[in-house]
C-alpha cells in the first residue's frame, strides 16, 4: 500500500514537473488541467482495428486515433491534410497524385512512405484477407479493384503505385469528384508490410501494433476496454495535448449515463431514448445533440414479391403523407432528430435540399392529400406486413405509424419483428411489404445515400427502379456540379415516393464540460483525441 502510494506520488510529481512548463493551450491560452486523459463510452466492442478490416463505428473511432490516412475529416466535415499534403488530378479526372509529408513516422520511428499506402490498399482487395470492406475500394472505382476482389488479377496489379517515397498515384476507372473525401476512411489507410508479415493476424495486439496515428495502443481487453498513449513519433506530436485515450465498453445506455455522472467516462453516446430533453435542461453545458449522417426510412417492396397495390405511386405517396414525422421525432425519440422528406441527410456537406411540396404542407394538409390520393387509388383493401429488427424504438415507431395508417387510411398492418440476422435475411429476400431501414453515409457526400436508390444497388432492398434516377446518378459521377443532380434525384424520389423518409439522425451525447475541442460540426461523428484538450476546472 505504502509502496503504491509512493509510486503514485512520484509519478504525480514527475507529471506535474513536466506539465508546469506548458499549462495553457498554446492556441487559445486556456489553462489546462493536469490530467489530460480522455475516456469515452463504447456501445460495443469493435469487430477489428485492422484498418483494412474495420467496418463499424467502434473500430473507426479507435483507428482514427491509432492510424492516419491521406486526408483527415476536418471538424466542419470537410477534409484536411493528414499524411498527404495535397493532390493533383489529371485532366480526365482519373489519376490522383498525392504528395505526402516527409516527416510522417510510424510508432516505431520508421518513415511513412507511399509504398505503405500501396500495400494497405492492395491488401484491402486481397481475397486472402477477405475484408468485408473490400467493396469500398471497388466503390471508389480504383482501377482493377473489382477484378482483384474476384481473384481474376493479382492485388499488385490494381491502380495504385508509389512513384517515390512521398508520391502516391491512384488511378480510378471513373472520375469521382468526391474521391478525396473517400480516402478519409480507413480502408485507404497505410499498413506496415513487415509488421503484418511478422505477426499475422496478431499484429493489432498491444505490443505488436505499429501505427502512424497520434496514439499507440497499450491495452485491449475484449468486451471491456482499450487504451492508447500519445505517440512521440507522430509528426504533429507537439500539438497533441490529450496524453491518454481510453474506451470503456458499456452496453447498457443507463449504466453508461451512471458511469458518466460517476466521473468514469468523459463522453457517452448514444443517450437512453427519450432522456435528452431532461438532460439538456439540467446540464445545458454537457448535453449536446448534433446531426449524424444517417437516415431512417421505410422501404416499400416494389419487387415482384411485393403487393400489387404498392406498385401504385399514389398508394405509396398516401402512405408516406399519412406518417406524421414530428410525432416520431418530438414525442418518441426526443433527441434532436429532424423529420425527413429527403433520403440524403439535410446536413450532408454541400447538399442543396430541394424544396419539396410534402415538406411545405402542414400535417392536416398532408392527411387530406393522403386521403384524396388513397380514394383516387380506389381505397385498396390492404394488410401490410411491416418488418423491423427487434428494438424498443423500432417497435414504438412501427406501432405509431401503423396507427396513423389505420386511422387516416383504414390500412391494417401486421408488425413482424426479427432478431438482427434473421431480419437481414428476410429483408434481403424481399419477404416483406414494408421494411424499417436505415442508412449511414460512408463519406460526407449525398451520393453516399442516393447511390442506394439506383436499380442495381445491392442495398436497394425495396427494389425501387427508375431509369431516370439511374441515368442521373451515373451522370453525377463525372458532373462538374453534382449537387444540382442530387437535388433533382431527391425530387424524383419524392414524386415517386420511392421510400418513406422518416427522420434524419442526430447524435445526442453527454460531454464533460472541461473537455474542449470537440468537432460539433462534424456530422460523421469523426473525432480525433489529438484535437481535444481538458481545461482546468474551476
Amino acid at each position: 500500500m505504502i509502496r503504491t502510494a509512493t509510486g503514485t506520488l512520484a509519478a504525480l510529481l514527475l507529471s506535474t514537473a513536466a506539465f508546469a512548463q506548458d499549462a495553457t493551450n498554446p492556441e487559445t491560452g486556456e489553462p489546462l488541467a493536469e490530467d489530460q486523459s480522455f475516456t469515452y463510452r463504447m456501445l460495443d466492442d469493435w469487430k477489428s482495428i485492422d484498418p483494412q478490416l474495420v467496418e463499424e463505428t467502434a473500430g473507426n473511432h479507435a483507428v482514427r486515433q491509432l492510424f492516419e490516412g491521406l486526408y483527415n475529416s476536418a471538424p466542419d466535415g470537410t477534409i484536411e491534410p493528414g499524411v498527404a499534403l495535397s493532390h493533383e488530378v489529371s485532366d480526365d479526372g482519373l489519376t490522383y497524385t498525392f504528395t505526402l509529408r516527409d516527416d510522417a513516422r510510424w510508432s516505431d520511428g520508421e518513415p511513412v512512405t507511399a509504398q505503405d499506402f500501396v500495400y494497405g490498399i492492395q491488401r484491402a482487395v486481397d481475397p486472402e484477407l477477405a475484408s468485408n470492406y473490400s467493396w469500398y475500394i471497388e466503390l471508389a472505382t480504383v482501377e482493377g479493384a473489382t477484378e482483384a476482389i474476384a481473384g481474376e488479377i493479382d492485388p499488385s496489379e490494381i491502380g495504385v503505385r508509389a512513384i517515390d517515397d512521398t508520391t502516391l498515384e491512384i488511378t480510378l476507372e471513373e472520375a469521382l469528384p468526391y474521391f478525396p473525401q473517400m480516402v478519409t476512411y480507413s480502408t485507404f489507410f497505410p499498413a506496415r508490410q513487415d509488421v503484418i508479415e511478422e505477426h499475422g493476424a496478431d499484429w493489432v495486439r498491444p505490443g505488436n501494433i505499429v501505427g502512424n496515428g497520434a496514439y499507440v495502443l497499450t491495452d485491449y481487453r475484449v468486451g471491456e476496454r482499450w487504451s492508447a498513449e500519445k505517440s512521440d513519433t507522430y509528426w504533429n506530436a507537439d500539438d497533441v495535448i490529450i496524453d491518454e485515450v481510453t474506451g470503456l465498453i458499456i452496453n447498457d445506455p443507463n449504466q453508461a449515463l451512471t458511469r458518466y455522472f460517476d466521473g468514469e467516462v468523459d463522453m457517452t453516446e448514444p443517450l437512453p431514448a427519450g432522456q435528452f430533453p431532461e438532460l439538456k435542461e439540467e446540464y445545458p453545458d454537457q448535453a449536446h445533440s448534433i446531426p449524424r449522417l444517417c437516415s431512417y426510412y421505410y422501404a416499400f417492396n416494389q419487387s415482384e414479391s411485393g403487393p400489387e397495390a404498392l406498385k401504385d405511386p399514389n398508394v405509396r405517396r398516401a402512405l408516406s403523407l399519412a406518417v406524421d414525422r414530428s410525432v416520431i421525432t418530438d414525442q418518441i425519440l426526443q433527441g434532436g432528430q429532424t423529420p425527413a422528406y429527403t433520403f440524403a441527410h439535410q446536413d450532408t456537406a454541400n447538399f442543396e435540399m430541394p424544396v419539396l411540396p410534402d415538406a411545405q404542407m402542414t400535417q392536416a394538409e398532408r392527411d387530406a392529400e393522403a386521403q384524396r390520393l388513397w380514394e383516387e387509388a380506389g381505397s385498396p383493401d390492404l394488410t401490410l406486413d411491416l418488418i423491423y429488427n427487434t428494438s424498443d424504438q423500432h417497435e414504438q415507431i412501427a406501432t405509431i405509424v401503423s396507427q396513423m395508417w389505420k386511422q387516416k387510411l383504414g390500412v391494417d398492418t401486421d408488425l413482424s419483428n426479427y432478431e438482427w440476422s434473421t431480419y437481414l435475411d428476410v429483408r434481403g429476400g424481399q419477404n416483406f411489404d414494408i421494411s424499417r431501414s436505415a442508412w449511414c453515409a460512408d463519406y460526407n457526400e449525398a451520393s453516399s445515400f442516393l447511390d442506394l436508390m439506383t436499380s442495381n444497388n445491392e442495398n436497394n432492398d425495396g427494389k425501387y427502379a427508375n431509369p431516370r434516377v439511374d441515368e442521373l446518378i451515373d451522370a453525377s459521377r463525372t458532373a462538374e456540379n453534382p449537387q444540382e443532380i442530387y437535388t433533382e434525384v431527391e425530387e424524383i424520389l419524392n414524386e415517386d415516393t420511392a421510400i418513406i423518409p422518416i427522420y434524419h439522425y442526430s447524435l445526442a451525447f453527454m460531454l464533460d464540460e472541461d473537455v474542449k475541442g470537440w468537432p460539433f460540426e462534424n456530422a460523421e461523428n469523426n473525432w480525433y483525441a489529438r484535437d481535444l484538450y481538458r481545461v482546468a476546472g474551476e
Binding site: 478490416l53 477477405a130 493476424a201 475484449v222 471491456e224 458499456i250 438482427w420 440476422s421
Partner: protein, 307 residues
C-alpha cells in the same frame, strides 16, 4: 470408482461429438449467416469470406475440419465476428473473468444459502424460519436483471461506494456488485432446497433415534442430518456451478465485465459460428465434468451408493 470414472469420461467423447454436430447443424440452419450485414456485400466479397472460413465446403467437411482442429490442435478457429481474435483468445480472456465472478457468487450462494436452509428447517415455524423463508423468497423473485440496477442505484448512485461496472482486472470493488447480483437468486434456491430436504431428513427414523438417545441437537444436525440432507442440494449445485462459471449474459451486459456469457450471445446474434461452437463445447465439457463430480460426491456422502 476409478473404472466408473474412466467409463464416464469415455462416454463423454461421443456425447461431445453429438453436441458439436447438432449445434453446428442448428446454427447453420438458422436464417442469416456470418456474412449478413446491414450492407449487402457483393457476391465476390461474400465468396472470399466464405472461402477464408471454409464455409464454401460441404457441411460434413466443415464439421469434420472443425472437429479435427479442435481435437488435434485444440484450435477453435478464428472468430468470424471479432476478426483480430481467435476463439481461443476470446476464451482465454473471457473465461477467467466469468470463472472469477461465477465461483465467488457460487461460494456466496452456498455459504449463505445452506446455513439459512438448515436454520429454517431446524427452527421450523419460528420467527427464524419465517425470516429465512421470507428472505429467500424475496431474493428469488428478484432476478439478476432486476437486482443489478437496484444494486447500482444503492451502492453507486446513492452511497457512492462502488463502481457501477467494468472489470478492472478483477479488482475487489468491481467484483462486489456482479457477485451479489448473480449469486442472490441461486442462494435463495439453495436455501429453499436445503430447508425442504433438511425437514424431510429431520423427520426420518434415524434422526428420531439419535434424538431419543439424548444426543444434543447440534450434534444431531451436523453429524447425522446434514450429510443426507445435502444430496438433493448437491445434484442442484453441479449444473448450477457450471451455469455460474460459464457466464451470465445479464451480468456481462449490465456490468461490462467482458466475460464469455456476453460473447456467446453476441456470437449467436451475429452468427459468429466459431465463437458459438467454442463456448458451447466449453460449457458442454464442463457440464459433463461437474455431473461426474456430483455423482462421485454422492458415493462419498451416501454409503449406500457404490459404483
Amino acid at each position: 470408482m476409478l473404472v466408473y470414472s474412466i467409463k464416464r469420461i469415455l462416454v463423454a467423447i461421443p456425447v461431445l461429438l453429438i453436441l458439436v454436430i447438432v449445434s453446428y447443424l442448428v446454427m447453420v440452419l438458422a436464417p442469416g449467416g456470418p456474412t449478413s450485414s446491414e450492407r449487402t456485400l457483393p457476391a465476390a466479397v461474400i465468396a472470399n469470406i466464405e472461402a477464408r472460413y471454409g464455409l464454401d465446403q460441404p457441411l460434413w467437411k466443415q464439421i469434420y475440419d472443425y472437429v479435427e482442429n479442435v481435437v488435434l490442435r485444440f484450435d477453435f478457429g478464428p472468430s468470424f465476428l471479432r476478426r483480430d481474435l481467435s476463439v481461443n483468445d476470446m476464451i482465454a480472456q473471457g473465461f477467467p473473468v466469468t470463472l472469477t465472478y461465477g465461483a465467488l457468487s457460487f461460494v456466496l450462494a452456498v455459504a449463505v444459502g445452506v446455513p439459512l436452509g438448515v436454520v429454517a428447517a431446524v427452527r421450523q415455524n419460528t420467527w427464524l424460519d419465517y425470516l429465512a423463508v421470507g428472505f429467500s423468497v424475496g431474493a428469488q423473485v428478484l432476478p439478476n436483471f432486476v437486482m443489478a440496477p437496484i444494486l447500482v442505484v444503492i451502492f453507486t448512485v446513492w452511497l457512492g461506494w462502488l463502481p457501477a461496472g467494468g472489470w478492472n482486472g478483477g479488482a475487489p470493488e468491481n467484483l462486489v456488485l456482479p457477485v451479489i447480483a448473480l449469486g442472490t437468486s441461486f442462494m435463495a434456491s439453495i436455501a429453499r432446497l436445503t430447508r425442504s430436504s433438511m425437514l424431510e431428513t429431520m423427520n426420518s427414523g434415524f434422526i428420531r433415534t439419535a434424538r431419543a438417545k439424548g444426543m444434543p441437537m447440534r450434534k444431531v444436525v451436523l453429524r447425522h442430518a446434514l450429510k443426507p440432507a445435502m444430496l438433493p442440494v448437491i445434484s442442484y449445485l453441479g449444473p448450477t456451478f457450471v451455469g455460474m462459471i460459464t457466464g451470465s449474459v445479464v451480468i456481462d451486459y449490465f456490468f461490462s465485465t467482458g466475460g464469455i456469457g456476453g460473447f456467446l450471445v453476441n456470437a449467436a446474434l451475429n452468427r459468429d459460428y466459431s465463437t458459438m461452437m467454442g463456448i458451447t463445447i466449453l460449457i458442454g465439457a464442463l457440464t459433463i465434468l461437474f455431473n461426474l463430480l456430483v455423482d462421485l460426491t454422492y458415493a462419498w456422502i451416501d454409503p449406500r451408493i457404490r459404483y
